[in-house]
Symmetry: C2
Subunit: 283 residues, 2 copies
């Protein structure tokens, strides 16, 4: 790995840059960002060696596309146009169907690997990058058979060196399942934050009463709307399905309370307690 | 502080016991628990010096009542019957209205202080106790004027020594606000867990895709149904109000998505991002 381009020098792209630099100190990493302030900052805080443009892509062994998923759909074909025959392009978006679809007939489809590392924090921008963000995390790879074998090998070697666990999945089921275990969590958290903020308008001191439980449950409401709006748009159908199921469950819980069925309220919680076992191992 | 009774040797009662023992190593702490296994375990792991019964209350300088809130309503009058004229009884329940109401005319009302330390974890039982659980946490005291002055002083000295910040509030607004910043979080988390578990029935591998965001958002779904069902029952009206507001916000978010109003989806999140500033200082 000699030349790497990171398109999008935020939390995920920046963490890739730091992780790669740790493994390959002599590798030259070029940061490409539509926001010149971010590109500049990424250089200043040593996320990347220099800021660049798509001109640099032709010399890259690896291009990591880490921008909002609507921008990925727009930019990925151009990135593939620019990459050399031996260059590998990886995207890391939280949706996979539209992204895989847009390049399915691209002449350089075999230079592309669709990935989704399940890693992140509620922070964003270059300063949010962490060199060990991907250690022990799951990385979901879609349509691996459509990527040239030697480029698959290059990608898997890097993912392994970064400490990721690999899972393979088709784009459609990826988008369906990730709506439940990631996208819905964000909406539940944002709307919880909204509900409490609305109440707080009239009650200035309410947040003095908030503890670690509230903080944990609304943590994701700090997330970037710039990143999440395109994800919700691309995964619209699946997310509406999960939201509908979630609202029905909440409504049912409220109905049980309104009809004073507290044994059923108890069972709703007891039956969900097995989330303990399920969460074992997720940090 | 020479003699302390802890009624309920779980997470909160046990953490009080450990905190008091750290401050007053010579203090004798007696654990009283309706579950003999918990009382026995509390002795074995040195949460308390010995297991006892209500017989011990008459010699106590301090009695901490840390049992489910329905049990508190049943037991608190008996505990006050048993306490000496100089004994202080504190409850630590997550609801305050019914608890204050049940003892309002008790002849020993002045021996009682109603408190709600905003501290806890998703774990329960004696082994969940932590000596520093209350450090830096808010403790809400209700109807302080109804407690004898020298017993107020005894309580506040202990709370200060344990590192708590004190806030005063009336029971009714306490129960209303805590529904928003604590009780609702638990329901949103339980129902999120339920929604995802229901989906997972047919999809065994879905949880391989779950990351730290999901874990954070459903953490409270590990909480004890034995403790939370009585809280929901006692705070029924307020909780139904918060749930109604939360469901309406989720429904509105879904409506925006269904009508493809993504600028509004963006604004819903952007406007909620100020939870960042609000959460500063809550850990």
């Amino acid at each position: 790995m000699k030349n790497v381009c990171i398109i999008g020098t935020g939390l995920i792209g920046g963490s890739f840059a730091l992780g790669i630099k740790k493994l390959y100190p002599n590798c030259k990493i070029i940061g490409i960002d539509s926001n010149p302030d971010h590109a500049q900052m990424a250089v200043e805080i040593n996320l990347v060696d220099e800021a660049g443009s798509y001109e640099a892509i032709k010399d890259a062994d690896l291009v990591v596309v880490a921008i909002p998923v609507d921008a990925t759909v727009n930019e990925l074909p151009k990135v593939l146009d620019a990459v050399s025959d031996d260059g590998l392009v990886i995207d890391v978006g939280s949706t996979k169907y539209d992204i895989c679809k847009i390049v399915e007939d691209h002449p350089k489809r075999r230079n592309f690997l669709a990935a989704h590392p399940i890693a992140g924090t509620e922070f964003s921008g270059p300063r949010a990058a962490i060199p060990t963000l991907f250690e022990g995390k799951t990385n979901i790879i879609c349509e691996v058979e459509k990527t040239a074998f030697k480029l698959q090998e290059r990608a898997l070697k890097l993912f392994n060196e970064m400490g990721m666990r690999i899972r393979y999945m088709h784009p459609a089921p990826h988008d369906k399942h990730i709506a439940f275990v990631s996208h819905l969590s964000h909406i539940s958290s944002f709307m919880l934050g909204k509900t409490v903020i609305d109440e707080e308008k009239n009650e200035k001191d309410i947040f003095d009463m908030a503890g670690s439980g509230f903080a944990s449950t609304v943590r994701l409401a700090k997330s970037s709307p710039e990143m999440w709006t395109p994800i919700f748009k691309q995964n619209r159908e699946n997310i509406i399905g999960t939201l509908d199921a979630y609202i029905k469950n909440l409504q049912h819980f409220m109905d049980l309370m309104e009809s004073d069925k507290y044994e059923d309220v108890y069972l709703e919680m007891k039956n969900t307690n097995r989330i303990k076992d399920i969460l074992n191992g997720i940090t």
